[in-house]
């Protein structure tokens, strides 16, 4: 184990689109910038493994300025003012900054249903991430289910790699999807994008690839299998039927990652980090951009990142012209979040025996009757395992209206070595 030390003017946490945009703008403005990310490479989830030409443009921009990229480092603690600690494979690194931009992104919302803990039932973005990092999917029968625009992108990706994507079960009712389409008319780029994806699914592939049916108002009621997934039961309009498959990719839109913001004392409102027009949080030295401040997609993340980077460098006037772009993308984000709001029927999927907290194997039955997540934690250990409630948190919020009341360091499980090796941590834990 070795300890590293990085000093910078601006620290950006998260190397996805928002973080890269912030880093580029700030470095261009003359700040000494470091970017820290827990993945082995920059790009975030959306640009994992390279991404489209637009991603290449941003990687090029980052290379054109002097930015220190620290990858494979998981931020877990704030031992003192303007200092963060991250764990790497070789030890702990201490990060000293004057200003920080939190671009920690989002995770998928998972909802429990019978069989969702079976191996080969994954998140929609989850299975995509595995395919992007080397899992062959060619010829595999896949059901994609849940809600949100991510499902379309994921299916397009799987089909291009030869997967046999049987169907997309989108829980949102058709009427809302039609209104969503109509709402896009003012935004031709996005409408074309959505239409292009749909067209791709209805086309038979060159090598006898079958069509992928898009079913609105449809969801997975149960996943079946002895040791691993073998098939799913689907529900649509009172009809139930079974489909055999090797993978279920199931995700219910996204939840912002706000743990680090909370650790730094930033106010969180409705599950997102609260920011002002310059993307500044309620803590003066802390800015935030991208999905962390509310789910809104790629374009919104990029423009928020640019604004945050400029504002952090004191270039407020240069940031102002970007406000109109941000406002347009936020409008789209609002429409998106209304369209893919979760229907109440999904609350009835889990049976009393269904596991809700996968770390501690806490069933729905054991959670019923508690008044808050805190009470449930104390009695059942729900949300107290290694994921610290990152998976079941999104579920208990939807099922019971519970929210995490506080966050405590370390915000990720780390090695004991990482806690005791750093002397500033030692004092923080006294």
């Amino acid at each position: 184990m070795s300890d590293a030390h990085h000093v910078c003017d601006l620290l950006v946490v998260g190397a996805g689109p928002a973080g890269l945009a912030a880093a580029w703008r700030a470095a261009q403005s003359g700040l000494r910038v470091s970017v820290v990310d827990d993945n082995p490479a920059a790009g975030g989830q959306i640009w994992r493994g390279g991404g489209p030409p637009e991603a290449q443009l941003w990687f090029e921009r980052i290379r054109s300025v002097d930015v220190e990229m620290i990858t494979g480092a998981r931020v877990f603690q704030q031992p003192g003012p303007r200092t963060l600690l991250a764990e790497t494979n070789s030890g702990v690194c201490e990060l000293n900054y004057k200003t920080v931009v939190l671009a920690t992104g989002a995770r998928e919302r998972f909802l429990p249903f019978p069989g969702w803990t079976l191996p080969n039932v994954m998140g929609a973005g989850g299975l995509q991430a595995l395919v992007k990092t080397g899992l062959p999917i060619k010829g595999k029968r896949v059901v994609v289910a849940g809600t949100g625009p991510l499902l379309l992108a994921v299916v397009s990706y799987f089909r291009a790699r030869g997967a046999d994507v049987l169907l997309i079960a989108e829980q949102a009712p058709v009427l809302r999807l039609v209104r969503f389409g109509a709402g896009l008319i003012g935004d031709p780029g996005k409408l074309l994008q959505a239409w292009g994806l749909r067209k791709d699914f209805s086309r038979k592939g060159a090598k006898a690839q079958r069509r992928t049916r898009y079913l609105s108002g449809c969801w997975v009621a149960e996943a079946h299998g002895d040791q691993k997934l073998e098939g799913v039961t689907l529900v649509r309009g009172g009809k139930r039927w079974q489909v055999a498959c090797e993978y279920l990719a199931s995700g219910f839109h996204l939840v912002p990652n706000v743990e680090l913001a909370e650790l730094l004392g930033c106010e969180v409102e409705g599950g997102s980090v609260r920011v002002d027009e310059f993307q500044q949080t309620t803590v003066a030295s802390v800015y935030s951009a991208g999905e962390t401040t509310g789910i809104g997609g790629l374009e919104l993340s990029l423009v928020e990142g640019e604004i945050a980077g400029l504002a952090a460098a004191g270039k407020h006037e240069a940031a102002r012209p970007l406000f109109a772009v941000r406002a347009r993308h936020r409008k789209f984000a609002d429409l998106l979040n209304r369209t893919f709001a979760l229907r109440n029927e999904l609350k009835q999927l889990a049976t009393p025996e269904t596991i809700v907290c996968r770390c501690e194997d806490v069933t729905l039955e054991r959670l019923r009757g508690h008044r808050s997540w805190r009470a449930a934690k104390l009695q059942t250990r729900c949300g107290m395992g290694p994921c610290q409630g990152r998976v079941c948190g999104g579920a208990v919020e939807f099922l019971f209206g519970w929210r995490a009341e506080s966050v405590r360091p370390p915000i990720l499980p780390v090695k004991i070595d990482s806690l005791i090796r750093n002397k500033s941590v030692k004092s923080a834990f006294k």
Binding site: D38, N39, P40, Q45, G49, G72, R74, R107, E108, F110, T117, P119, N120, V121, M122, G123, G125, G126, L127, Q128, A129, L130, V131, T133, G134, L135, P136, Q227, K228, I355, R358, C359, E360, D361, G385, P386, C387, R390, V391, P413
Partner: protein, 82 residues
């Protein structure tokens, strides 16, 4: 051609393109049970991005490694379901 790395999953050798993650290599060998839950259920990867901790395996004798965030390396010894 991308560079190929060779690792061993539960005694079985598997070749992966350089830059692949260990979780993908494990699934490629047909292994689906990555770890045992506290009540003994078999579990595999869920989130693919390092937050759910369901893909924990033993890599080169080090337990509890998140296989979805660990790059494949030549000669790596991976064991699951421990």
């Amino acid at each position: 051609m991308p560079e190929i790395v060779t690792l061993v999953v539960n005694g079985v050798s598997v070749e992966m393109p350089a830059g692949s993650m260990v979780a993908a290599a494990i699934l490629k060998t047909g292994t689906y049970a990555f770890r045992r839950s506290v009540t003994g259920e078999s579990r595999g990867p869920l989130c693919g991005m390092g937050i759910c901790f369901e893909c924990r395996v033993t890599i080169d004798n080090e337990p509890h490694c998140r296989s979805c965030q660990t790059l494949c390396r030549n000669g790596m010894d991976v064991r699951t379901d421990e």
